[in-house]
């Protein structure tokens, strides 16, 4: 059980699922069947993740990690012998938690997308197949223990994501998808250059032992110190740019708000919640252990970017009026924190960073889904089109508050633990950066609460209010009609559904403030039971990890320790005694 | 003495090359190319004499053949375009410039 190659299985299952669902959809299978099938596959994946977790824990507790074996549940076979490339998968603490996060998020995303309004001409079969394909690729990225395989999966991940954003997103989806793809691809190609460089550099080192170059993680890690610093710096640069684009760190972040905003809600969750973590994960997986000298040398630069991201992301987020863009900007700030933790080079900070990756996925996922539900009701992404939603939809408002608090990292939510760990872990080594980043926390509270206040509190207005014109097909009240209200008739051109906020008309006609009396004819109702059910796992996780993060930290910590050792710095204890 | 021939050949080659670049009529361009080929032949033969082996002369022979084959192919193509549009000027053929 311990050494069952779960990663491989978890890579294959969604891939097969994607193929099956895609084929069925192409053959005209009913949408419902394809949806259920896709959900089935994702649930299987979830079960596998749980089993894998258990197996990993067993392996860990039985001392598996201490005998030099870096990875559990490995699979490895020759792929391209000419390049010393092997198809090898395995799990360590970092990858396990990320894969678990994916496994949790994907079923939720599928369920949340159950009634998504797809652009004309698109089918659920295609959508879900692409989501599954994306899941497979993401599992591959996190589980890859060969740098080459990592790169391959890194690139392959782009394609389903590209089609998800470009094919199923909002009105400006094509430009956004293109921007996303080109950014990522450019990063990916620079990374390819670095992969090649790493291979060549390893070849030079290994040639002395009569071996040819390799891209195997374990081998590379052993010889990491023998690669000359000058080479390391170049190689590091390529990887770092790729990961900084992916993460995204500030000067390279501009694709994310567009892609995140235009992506359909479910896709956005995966994009912000998981996909972007590949960047920070890459730093941990490749830059730190394999290029330690360069990492030490260039840590200041990444830290600078991280802090910049924290502050800039927070400031810009505060200025956003588009809800989805707002969420992506908050994420940019959070990624700054994660990067800060990564490049602090202490076990606590790194553990915190990894935990932050998980927590951010959960919290932002929740927030994103909530925003999605709100937008699908209100038909507008603009903050100004909402007001007093809480009064109309108290459950939605409550959960939104929880998600906001989690995002701001209020104690008791999961983000608090990770943010705290990052900050106290970083402080001993990089006090100045840490203090600067702390400012971001304050800013986060400002922007988050401000948005919350504008959307949820105050008088009911904007999209929440029914129009004066009675249109027969409107839902009479909450919960009576499962189908969300169509925001607008489909555009005649058949292109993307041009969502014009219904409120515009209302706003100009002066019907802005309504009395409480008309609140029963609100345009949209509160969350329905199934929506609550969909969100409840995330809510549970937010709270659970807020109070008891130890199981996750147990998984992460050994790997974090190892990583710090790999970087070649002495670990600095956190001032408050760490978390172990 | 022989280097003079090389200079002549280079000059001829240059004249041909300039002709190709400057002239617009397909047939004239084509003739300039032939001039270039023959200029090369001159150098080949000169070099052959300088080195005292026959390689250059043999190459020159084959160059003649190739030139001839080029003439045939070129005439065929130019003739075809000439029949289609009644002009042999490269300038007139401008469908592909956009």
């Amino acid at each position: 059980m311990d050494q069952v190659p779960f990663p491989l299985v978890m890579l294959v299952v969604p891939a097969v699922g994607a193929a099956v669902v895609g084929l069925l959809a192409a053959r005209g299978a009913p949408a419902r069947a394809t949806k259920q099938l896709a959900l089935g596959f994702s649930l299987v994946e979830l079960v596998l993740a749980v089993l894998s977790w258990i197996g990993f824990r067993n392996w860990q507790t039985s001392g598996g990690g201490s005998e030099g074996a870096l990875f559990a549940q490995t699979t490895s076979f020759d792929w391209i012998p000419a390049f010393g490339v092997r198809f090898s998968l395995g799990l360590d603490g970092f990858s396990l938690v990320m894969i678990a996060l994916i496994a949790v998020l994907v079923p939720i995303v599928l369920l949340a997308s159950w009634e998504e309004r797809l652009p004309q001409g698109r089918t659920f079969g295609g959508y879900f197949a692409l989501l599954l394909a994306l899941q497979s690729a993401m599992v591959g990225v996190f589980a890859a223990t060969d740098v080459f395989l990592f790169y391959v999966m890194f690139e392959v991940m782009l394609i389903p994501m590209y089609f998800l954003v470009g094919g199923f997103g909002g009105p400006r989806r094509q430009a956004a998808a293109m921007k996303f793809f080109l950014y990522s691809l450019l990063g990916g190609l620079l990374m390819l250059a670095s992969v090649i460089g790493l291979y060549v550099a390893s070849g030079r080192v290994l040639a002395e032992q009569g071996r040819s170059g390799t891209l195997d993680f374990a081998t590379l890690r052993e010889i990491a110190d023998q690669i000359p610093l000058s080479s390391q710096l170049w190689i590091f640069a390529g990887f770092a740019i790729a990961f900084a684009i992916k993460a995204p760190l500030v000067p390279l972040h501009t694709w994310l708000p567009d892609a995140g905003a235009e992506a359909p809600t479910g896709t956005g969750v995966l994009l912000v919640g998981v996909l972007d973590k590949v960047g920070t994960f890459g730093f941990l997986r490749i830059c730190l252990p394999l290029l330690p000298a360069a990492s030490r040398e260039l840590a200041w630069l990444l830290l600078l970017l991280a802090v910049l991201g924290v502050l800039y992301g927070a400031v810009v987020a505060a200025g956003q009026t588009d809800l989805k863009r707002f969420v992506t900007w908050t994420s940019i700030a959070h990624f700054g924190f994660i990067a800060l933790g990564v490049f602090a080079f202490t076990t606590t900070a790194i553990s915190g960073a990894v935990l932050y990756m998980v927590n951010h996925g959960i919290a932002t996922g929740l927030l994103f889904l909530l925003v999605g539900m709100l937008v699908s009701r209100g038909g507008s992404r603009s903050v100004t089109d909402y007001g007093g939603v809480w009064k109309v939809a108290p459950v939605l408002g409550g959960l939104f508050l929880l998600a906001s608090l989690a995002t701001v990292a209020v104690p008791g939510t999961n983000s608090f633990v990770s943010e705290f760990l990052v900050l106290i872990g970083s402080f001993p080594r990089i006090p100045v950066w840490t203090v600067l980043a702390t400012v971001g926390i304050v800013l986060a509270a400002v922007y988050m609460l401000w948005v919350f206040q504008r959307v949820m509190t105050g008088p009911v207005r904007g999209s929440a209010v029914l129009l004066d014109e009675p249109t027969g097909d409107l839902p009479a009240g909450p919960g009576s009609e499962p189908e969300p209200v169509p925001p607008a008739p489909p555009a005649a051109g058949g292109t993307a559904v041009a969502v014009r906020p219904v409120s515009t008309a209302a706003a100009t006609s002066g019907g802005r403030h309504r009395t409480e009396a008309s609140a029963r004819r609100f345009r949209f109702g509160d969350l329905r039971a199934r929506e609550i059910a969909i969100l409840s796992p995330l809510v549970a996780l937010v709270l659970l990890l807020g109070f008891y993060p130890q199981p996750v930290l147990d998984v992460i910590n050994p790997t974090a320790q190892r990583t710090v050792v790999d970087v070649g710095v002495t670990d600095l204890p956190a001032p408050l005694g760490g978390t172990r | 003495m022989t280097t003079h021939w090389l200079v002549v050949s280079a000059l001829l080659f240059g004249v041909g090359a300039v002709g190709v670049l400057v002239r617009r009529n397909a047939i004239v361009v084509f003739m300039c190319v032939e001039l270039m080929l023959n200029a090369v032949n001159l150098s080949l033969v000169t070099f052959s004499r300088m080195h005292g082996n026959l390689d250059g002369v043999v190459v020159a022979f084959f160059v003649m053949v190739v030139a001839a084959a080029e003439v045939v192919v070129g005439l065929a193509i130019i003739m075809a375009i000439f029949r289609s549009r009644r002009s042999a000027s490269v300038d007139d053929a401008s469908l592909l410039k956009y």
Binding site: W79, I80, A82, F83, G121, Y151, V152, E155, V156, L158, I159, G166, G167, R173, M178, F181, L182, L185, L186, L189, L190, L192, A193, I196, Y199, V200, G493, T495 | L6, G16, A17, A26, V29, F30, V33, M36, A39, V40, S43, L44, F47, H51, G52, D55, G56, V59, F62, V66, A69, E70, V73, G74, A76, I77, A80, I81, R83, R85, L95, L96
Partner: protein, 570 residues
Amino acid sequence: MTDPSVPPIVAPSVDLVLVLPILVVLGAAVVGVLVEAFVGRSRRFAVQAALTLLTVAFAAVWTIVAAVGDRVGVTFAGSVSVDALTHVAWGVLLVLAVPAVLLVLDRTVEPGGAFVAAGSAPVGSAGDRRQNLGSGAGGGADGPDGAPGPAPMQTEVFPLILFAVGGMMIFPAASDLLTFFVALEVLSLPLYLLCGLARRRRLISQEAAVKYFLLGAFVSAILLYGIALLYGWAGSIRFADIAAKIAGDPGTGSGVGNDLLLLLGLALLVVGLLFKASVGPFHLWTPDVYQGAPTAVTAFMAACTKVAAFAAMLRVFLTFLPPVQDIWIPVLSVIAVVSMLIGSIIGVAQSDMKRVLAYSSIAHAGFILLGVMSLSERGASGTMFYLLSYGFATIGAFAITMLVRRGAGEATRLEEWSGLAKRSPVLAAVMTLFLLSFAGIPLTSGFIGKLTVFTAAVDAGLTPLVVIAMIATAITVAFYLRVVVVMYLTPTDRADRSADRSAGGSGPGSRTVSGAPGTLLETTTAPVSVVVPGPAIAIVLVVCALVTLLLGLAPSLGLDLLDVPLPLLS
């Protein structure tokens, strides 16, 4: 009178078995000419097509057998060198030639074949229209109403292709300057002609031919001058002698004058080669010719000519350049960068499918040049792998270009491809695969090609170039993506959709263009339609897609076969 100073002529040793594939191909070409002369018009097409296919296939098989059996050697008095590089080049070339020939012989897309039936009929004349509309001389595919269809194509195309293939095979094997030059011409001349033989859009086609021919002849002359100068410098036309002289010359040259000859000679030679491979600033012909030539020929050129040119470049570079690489690598670097950037940046602005592919080929030429420049075993085999993967993808892409039609002609404008994914999802998916391969996305053969070539380049210390190549790749992806966007994410316009419905019921083998005269006219109002591919194109598409995928998933299959050990024989 015989000069006593001239040594007596000695008959050179000739190993015919070594060069058998060349002999077979060229022999079959000659037989093809005779077939034109003697076989009746109605049977000519079948005979020619079979002859060409079988010949190429036989040569391919023989090459593989010979390569596996490691039959190597230098023959014809040192002018032809059949070594691993030659075998690999032949193998790649012939393997690519088979699908290219299949495209050429397809007659389902264009009734009567994609080539002109009577090249001598003036464009637009009554005779010209007659040959395209039917009721011309019989023998072509008959229309549904029993009236004779368009006149069958000129089958001289097949011998021409065989001659070109023959030349392409000699080119990388040539190990003296004379053979080199002759091979270059043997491969070029048929191509010039083939470019001008399109059935549709003949004016553009002929213009492409003239353009290609004039530029090609000009560059041949330049290359020839390079040959003359090299000979003048070394006193021998054999590669081995020249290489020995270069290597043996301390500091490359005893005097400035001599150095100048070597430098200029090599430079001009290289220019010629780069032109043929449509690299960098020597690419000017490429977009026009690719656009104008019949699409099948374009595919053939894009795939096979590149193989021949780069393989020859490998031999020339590997033979001559190592001692003087300090001078040459910077120059070539600039060229490679220019090629990559021209191809990628100008390509972004293109709106014609064939031109997009042409600029893509220019960019790819720049990438491939990196592999050649690394002057190593890995570089050589990487180059060949790249050519193989690029060749299959490009043939496949052009095959799909053949299928998308408006009226009677090909619909090559990008906007005409909008919504292709809805119309024919499989074609769009396959096209996407090819485009991803061009873009170098992992799990496609193009990625492995890039990987091998770039690895070799990094190994050779060309890291900055690789970085630029990566950026260029990213730019090229922009225009590949545009095609994908157009196919998948752009809806078709209404007129097309209605036409699609009416033509939608076309079963296998039937054509969406009707055979009735008057409807075949190329007009902008005609709907865009997708032809159901006939067996030949279907095979090509399947093979290209499979190879692209297979080499992406399991590249060792190809990489191991394409090993080029150094040094080369000469």
